[in-house]
């Protein structure tokens, strides 16, 4: 264990914050989706780091579950994006404002 765990946790925290800022500031819905994937990856890194430092492989198993959820979310989210584009001809989330009061 030459690399202290706090390195991994710090890297994961910074990647997560980059993902959050990407979701909040970008207007292209596909880039927003990819920032969500970046957040999920950062959390996966935390899980795997703690799995090594506890010696418990439950972290790896939970990382599988996160990856499964990400795959399911990819399928459904991209289908929504395609349906959105087909109806509104735009991927800019600022222009999808029919429900706005």
């Amino acid at each position: 264990m030459e690399v202290p765990i706090i390195n991994y946790l710090a890297l994961s925290a910074v990647l997560f914050s980059i993902g959050v800022v990407g979701v909040l500031t970008r207007r292209n819905v596909i880039v927003i989706y990819m920032s969500i994937e970046l957040m999920l990856n950062a959390v996966n890194l935390t899980f795997v780091a703690f799995a090594k430092f506890h010696g418990d492989m439950g972290g790896h198993v939970f990382m599988f579950m996160v990856m499964t959820v990400a795959a399911a979310e990819a399928a459904v989210g991209l289908a929504i994006i395609i349906a959105l584009f087909r109806n509104r001809e735009t991927v800019n989330v600022d222009e999808v404002n029919l429900l706005k009061g």
Binding site: A13, S17, V21, M34, A70, I80
Partner: protein, 165 residues
């Protein structure tokens, strides 16, 4: 040596993540995210998580991101080159600094010497046999629920993307 590898992969992952968020073309963003996932797979290999590292490349970078690239090319967006406008980049940098400072402050307060290994690290740590032993005995219910979730996602995606329901 391991520390050097960590820094190489870590900084490359950070560079790829920031480039993903500031670039204007969605294809470049997707490619930078794939680079980020490869760097994370390298970090998983450093953490002795061999099965997880390989699956990250096969499933995440090799299936999910390819699906995203298909959708980007299907929508055929026309974007100008370069980065997002400068005021957006300034906002993003300030946001990242604030949020990362908050999270790093929380991490710095952790008492990491209190982590005691729960059990001895088995020689099968991180291999296929080790993960399978956990997945099919202790965590069997989440495994089955994950398969139901995938079924629901498949049905939902097919219905959502049809032209006429």
């Amino acid at each position: 040596m391991q520390l050097l590898m960590f820094y190489i992969f870590g900084f490359l992952a950070l560079f790829a993540a920031v480039s993903m968020v500031v670039s204007r073309k969605p294809v470049m963003s997707a490619l930078f995210l794939i680079l980020n996932m490869f760097c994370l797979a390298g970090l998983y290999a450093l953490l002795d998580a061999h099965l997880v590292a390989v699956l990250q490349i096969i499933v995440y970078a090799g299936a999910i991101m390819v699906l995203v690239l298909f959708v980007i090319m299907l929508l055929n967006l026309r974007e100008k080159k370069g980065l997002v406008p400068k005021h957006t980049v300034v906002g993003q940098v300030i946001g990242i600094l604030v949020l990362a400072t908050v999270m790093l402050g929380v991490i710095a307060k952790l008492d990491l010497n209190a982590i005691k290994p729960l059990r001895e690290m088995s020689p099968e740590f991180g291999t296929v046999a080790g993960v399978a032993e956990k997945l099919f005995t202790v965590y069997l219910l989440p495994f089955e629920i994950a398969s139901v979730l995938l079924l629901a996602a498949i049905v939902g995606a097919v219905i959502l993307a049809k032209r006429k329901v």
